[in-house]
């Protein structure tokens, strides 16, 4: 077979990979902020939940998390009389988001803590509430600090989406494996697949750079 004939199925797979990456990066970012801010909370319960979540999802394998959500959760649900079967897409996005969120939470926490004490004192002197200090003073300064790490995590997330092919989602890796089984043309197919992942990573890197520049537009040397 000519390599151009692989393009169409691989592109279909790439589209699924793109969707998975976008959804799980967005949900992962939301989880990052929730858990990262939660870990800094004074309320011990909120703090415990955030710490527990971060440690569990950083300390276990993404593949096992994925299998657990897809294969084990429905069985566990059955035992207590609940239907917890998840469609593959939901299980995939959930596992990826929870995993990336746990890593992102540490990035968020670190960035918030890196905002100088002077800024908190200025906010206090102007009588900001702790909540407004976080949202209006600390986070806008912390977010640009997070961006390089978030960029790395987004790339990692893109590559991790390949794991969802193992729960029968027809992403780029799944399509590649399918074509290889069918044609045995491993070299061509996997070379193309590598380049496609690399191309996606380049696009993602460029997007994160644009975002980084946008959230840090007030910084010295930004323009």
């Amino acid at each position: 077979m000519d390599w151009t004939q692989y393009l169409n199925p691989l592109m279909q797979g790439a589209w699924v990979t793109i969707e998975l990456t976008i959804y799980s990066t967005i949900f992962g970012a939301i989880l990052s902020f929730a858990a990262g801010i939660g870990k800094l909370a004074h309320n011990p319960l909120i703090k415990a939940i955030a710490v527990g979540y971060i440690e569990i999802f950083r300390g276990t394998s993404l593949l096992v998390q994925l299998f657990w959500l897809y294969f084990a959760l429905p069985v566990a649900g059955q035992a207590i009389g609940l239907d917890l079967r998840l469609p593959p897409v939901v299980a995939g996005v959930l596992a990826l988001s929870l995993n990336i969120g746990a890593y992102g939470a540490e990035v968020v926490r670190g960035a918030i803590q890196s905002v100088s004490k002077d800024q908190y004192e200025a906010a206090k002197a102007l009588n900001f509430t702790p909540r407004k200090t976080l949202w209006r003073v600390a986070l806008p300064q912390a977010i640009p600090e997070m961006m390089p790490s978030f960029g790395n995590l987004a790339i990692q997330n893109l590559k991790d989406t390949a794991l969802v092919s193992l729960i029968s989602l027809s992403d780029l890796a799944f399509r590649a494996e399918q074509l290889r089984n069918f044609t045995q043309d491993s070299t061509t197919i996997y070379t193309m697949t590598l380049f496609m992942y690399f191309g996606l990573a380049l696009v993602l890197t460029a997007m994160m750079k644009v975002l980084e520049r946008f959230v840090g537009r007030w910084r010295a040397g930004a323009r």
Binding site: E121, K124, A125, L126, N127, T129, Q141, W218
Partner: protein, 263 residues
Amino acid sequence: MTETGADTIIKFDKVVKRFDTFTVIDELDFEVKRGEKVTIIGPSGSGKSTVLRILMTLEPISGGVVYVDGDTLWHEKGGNGDLKPASESHLRKMREKMGMVFQQFNLFPHMTVRRNLTEAPTQVLGMPKAEAKQRADELLEMVGLTAHADKYPHQLSGGQQQRVGIARALAMRPKIMLFDEPTSALDPELVGEVLGVIRRLAEEHDLTMLLVTHEMNFARQISDRVCFFDRGKVLEQGKPEDLFTNPKEERTREFLKAVLEDN
């Protein structure tokens, strides 16, 4: 208020502040009258900045009572009239009375100059945006920075940033302005413009002003009273012309000799 006279706006009553075992403020008694311009001078580590930080509620006290504008700052009256530690809502109410200018300016770097001035009035006082903007523009005109309203702090010189810092504090309409070494972080050629703004404030407004500074000539010109702090206490105080020309305490003489030679 029974504890202080009507014309007293700040009173420290046997106030103690300890960091671990080190006593920074040692049973300090100190008063400021309404509208008075008081300068605090003294060697580093004498506790002079700590006095301002206690007033701005940035440092809690270890003992004694602080009164501001007829109310206790770090305490609240309990049901039986006893003093108990102040709640956050009491501290918030008390903080409204004061504004602070920091040595390192502490402007919000992610906001334009104008936003730095409108953010707290709109977010904290609930002032309408248009009113806050108008007030900000008036203040920027007062400190001579109208042309820089839409710039970010890092685009300004240190002197300009500190003038924004002063305007930002004034935007909250405080009764008391606290200046914590406002010119110490500035290059010498930029000190004058900041002192000029503070001087005009002192001359044209009935604000109570408390200023920690090493600018002795400036202190002499604008102060109603100069306090020499040493080891957490007021060692000597008086009218600037008396204290600077005829200090009574040996420590004061030594200090003035050292700083004036340095200038």
